[in-house]
């Protein structure tokens, strides 16, 4: 049995190395929710499901299994905040639990890397699923201290829900988990055209062909711009990077004038739980540096008065 109310916190690459504010916010949120987050010493890249799986699927599984072993040794489930890390770790974890041949093969190769053996004792969780289902909109109401009165364009990304047969979270064609959660934080989710398509960064495309990646992203931004949200809300630091650098690219190269703040679900939740705006870290980001969350009193307090 894994420890309750404890997670091995898997950092990945983009969160600690590009958007540390998301890391700060996630730690803040989980602590407020009464969870303990354990460091995963010597964890590495998940490795990314788009690029590294493309080069060598076996080595991709071995490197992922190494990360899983670190959490197994801590005897806790893994928490990730990134669709890519979730995609890799959840998929490899599930696959190796089910496929004995591959488990033996991967364990053989793992011995070459270090003192690791995949046993299959833990699960991998994504923060959006922990917040959306385990805590839930019903539970978060009691913990937050303020709501944000804003309209958000929600971007799910791809690997949180898909492939649905492996993730088993909810339908990928019409998901509502994030929208329902945001409602509890006071945020209205605005629908926009082709909301569930890819941001264009995944699959190694951002590295392989920046042009193709930006063309896909340009269409995404056009659709978002039509509904004029206050900010873009994502659940993945890689989509986060694409929305940040992508808007910058479109402004500089395609005659656009976008300035939508890009906010991760952890950052928004932490703010609603009382973390200072400066730790949300918008000042470090390229877009919407001066955006201030529109604050409004909580209903509960109004009732008391």
């Amino acid at each position: 049995m894994v420890k309750e109310k404890t997670f091995a916190f898997f950092l990945g690459c983009l969160m600690p190395n590009r958007y540390p504010a998301i890391e700060k916010a996630t730690k803040f949120v989980m602590e407020k929710l009464g969870y303990e987050l354990l460091d995963m010493k010597k964890a590495g890249c998940c490795p990314a499901p788009g690029v590294f799986r493309s080069f060598n699927k076996v080595d991709w599984m071995v490197a992922a299994a190494r990360n899983l072993c670190i959490a197994e040794q801590l005897d806790t489930d893994i928490l990730t905040v990134c669709n890519g890390c979730f995609g890799t770790l959840q998929e490899v974890n599930k696959h190796l639990k089910e496929n004995e041949d591959h488990r033996i093969m991967v364990n053989e190769k793992l011995k070459l890397i270090g003192d690791y053996e995949f046993k299959g004792t833990i699960n991998v969780r994504h923060i959006a699923e922990v917040l959306g289902y385990e805590i839930g909109p019903w539970g978060i109401e009691d913990i937050i201290v303020r709501k944000v009165n804003a309209r958000a364009a929600v971007h799910y990304g791809c690997h949180f829900l898909k492939p649905t047969r492996i993730r088993e979270i909810e339908s990928s064609e019409n998901p509502t988990i994030v929208e329902e959660y945001l409602e509890a934080l006071g945020v209205e989710s605005v629908r926009f055209k082709e909301q569930l398509t890819c941001c264009g960064a995944g699959g190694g495309v951002k590295a392989y062909s920046g042009d193709a990646s930006m063309t896909i992203f340009g269409e995404k931004m056009k659709n978002i711009d039509e509904v004029k949200p206050d900010f873009i809300l994502d659940i993945c630091p890689f989509c986060h990077l694409q929305f940040e650098t992508g808007q910058d690219y479109l402004n500089k190269n395609k005659d656009c004038n976008y300035n939508y703040p890009v906010i991760h679900i952890s950052q928004l939740t932490a703010y609603c739980m009382g973390m200072d705006q400066e730790f949300v870290g918008l000042q470090y980001q390229l877009m919407g540096k001066n955006y201030i969350f529109g604050e409004r009193e909580m209903k509960k307090e109004e009732e008391v008065i």
Partner: protein
């Protein structure tokens, strides 16, 4: 379809036809079930803007056409899994493309940018390594300057795991010499 058949024959006599390639992909996916309905291409976000045509890629695999491994289009899939979700025959085209990329990599078809990413993983343990500006931000936010990942332990002199990454994982074939393309 007649020209497709013709191509089929052509490839069968081509010395480049690789039976192992075909059998392997067949074992790892459901390509035989493909009825060429085109749901994959119609669902493809990348294909809307690029030359990526998932349906014809799957067709080429079924025909054992190894030229698909040199096709740059297989690298334009963003792995969004929309085709995978919608395929009525459960062909799992995303998995097929992943297998193709594995084969293409073995043949040395890797873009320089992708090589660089592999290099980052082998030297720092991250696909995206940290930089000085982010280190400063981390301190400002009250986080440790370096996250407790492989890179930090490398700085502290313990980089056994990283050395083993370098040695045993993601060995890439040497860079192809420029072929004369007439």
């Amino acid at each position: 379809m007649s020209d497709v058949k013709e191509q089929h024959r052509e490839y069968k006599t081509d010395e480049d036809f690789d039976e192992d390639f075909f059998k392997n992909i067949e074992r790892k996916s459901n390509i035989w079930k493909c009825i060429q309905c085109g749901t994959c291409t119609a669902s493809c976000e990348s294909g809307r803007w690029t030359a990526l045509k998932t349906r014809s890629i799957v067709r080429k695999v079924v025909l054992g056409d190894v030229s698909v491994l040199d096709d740059p289009d297989i690298w334009l899939c963003t792995t969004c899994y929309q085709c995978y979700e919608r395929c009525p025959r459960d062909v799992r085209p995303t998995d097929v493309i992943m297998e193709l990329r594995n084969y293409a990599t073995k043949r040395g078809n890797i873009s320089p940018n992708h090589r660089a990413v592999v290099g980052f993983l082998k030297t720092t343990g991250h696909a995206v390594p940290i930089n000085d500006e982010v280190k400063k931000r981390r301190v400002e936010l009250g986080l440790e300057e370096l996250p407790p990942t492989l890179y930090k332990f490398k700085q502290e002199g313990d980089d056994n795991d990283l050395k083993n990454f370098e040695k045993y994982l993601f060995a890439l074939p040497p860079i192809k010499e420029e072929e004369d393309k007439e």
